[in-house]
Amino acid sequence: MRSDVRTLFFAAAFGTTCALVLTAVSRLAAPYRSANEKAEEMRNYLSALGVPFDEKASAKALIEIFDRNVVVQTNGRLRIYAFVPAGVSQEAMAFAVPLAGMGLWGPIKGVLALEPDLRTIRGLRFYQQEETPGLGGEIGAEWFVRQFKGKKLVSFTGEPGFRLVKKGMPLDENSVDAITGATMTSERVQTILRDVAAKVAEERGRHDRNE
């Protein structure tokens, strides 16, 4: 009986100490970590939009480039990042919309860049994901995202959507190869893309009415 009480007491004291140490370290590191995460997000927006920038630029420089070239506007449900090249033109050269959704093991976040027609994909980046390394984790790899460039967010009948199809199946301008061995991740990415396609279609409707 006494030893049980001692065990409990020890476990409580030890656990509390560990928790305190972890809290302190995490609080101290938090501002630096979140600055790095923010810069990482911006780097992805810039590279998806095709804004020229130095790969090794510091967090501060990235924020500056971002503020100079990118105009952020919120339209209804959708946040749009327009690439208006500083000092070149007033017309937006590209648009980007954020991607978010649940992956297999955790949230997936990314950015989808579109040409000014809001139909053609200009670039795709995933900057936060915890998919299985080597399988689903490949959504962050260059070969996977490269496939999307030039594809359309609408099918040839005009329906908004996107498909990830099994490798070897015929591809059209509305689909790309899924990842072999990562069916669950591929399905979730497809859902995220369809979700965005629907929102973009809404936005396109508004766009067309205005013009």
């Binding site: 065990t7 020890f10 030890f14 656990g15 560990c18 370290v25 590191a29 630096y32 810069a39």
Partner: protein
């Protein structure tokens, strides 16, 4: 004369020659990777480049040293029934701290190492040293043991990282050693199989050069 004195003074805390023996065991005669062949999962994963291998080695040296020292400090008050949970919790604290600091000051490296820093928690080298050494030995000797084993791991990682980066990409620490125009990237060494070959050869060479002594029967 004074130098010898100082050495013997620092080693009093860890019982004289035992200190040197412990370092030798961790780095060479009982090297966690080359002789015991444990904890090689991360060793295979992060050695495609020398830089990541070095940072991972430093991470393991730090966490092993600290957790061995603190485990040994509390070894007499830890209830035996929950000692394994305590060991894991202690390792986790140091690993998470290191991971947080890495994310704050060395973001690119933390991105390259991905989940492997966090996975040090499950590295059997640490658990093995705590369970097999720190629980029976005084704090300073345990600290030396943790450091020696971390160093043994780090050295092997550095060697494998060197070979893989040089043969795989023709560079070292990111600097091109063999000009890109001449040298074709060797994917076999950049990808995981290269680690298996390099590690296997290294284990073979070291064990052939100095065969492990059969354990003495008590």
């Amino acid at each position: 004369m004074t130098a010898t004195n100082r050495v013997s003074v620092t080693c009093v805390g860890c019982a004289g020659s035992k200190c040197r023996e412990t370092i030798r065991a961790g780095v060479h005669t009982n090297n966690p990777i080359l002789v015991q062949v444990i904890g090689i999962c991360s060793a295979l994963a992060v050695t495609s480049k020398l830089e990541t291998a070095l940072v991972m080695g430093i991470a393991l040296i730090l966490t092993a040293t600290l957790s061995c020292f603190f485990m040994s400090l509390i070894r007499n008050i830890t209830p035996p029934r929950i000692r394994m949970i305590v060991e894991i919790a202690l390792i986790s604290v140091f690993v998470i701290c290191f991971d947080q600091i890495l994310k704050a000051v060395y973001w690119d490296m933390s991105k390259q190492l991905g989940p492997y820093v966090g996975l040090i928690i499950t590295n059997c080298i640490l658990m093995g040293r705590l369970e097999g050494f720190a629980l029976q030995n005084p704090p300073l000797l345990s600290l030396v043991d943790g450091f020696a084993n971390g160093l043994g791991y780090a050295l092997v990682l550095a060697i494998v990282g060197c070979v893989r980066e040089l043969v795989g990409s023709g560079s070292l620490l990111g600097f091109a050693i063999l000009p890109e125009s001449v040298y074709q990237t060797n994917l076999l060494f950049v990808l995981a199989p290269g680690a298996f070959f390099t590690m296997g050869l290294l284990i073979w060479i070291v064990n052939a050069a100095s065969p492990p002594k059969p354990e003495k029967k008590p």
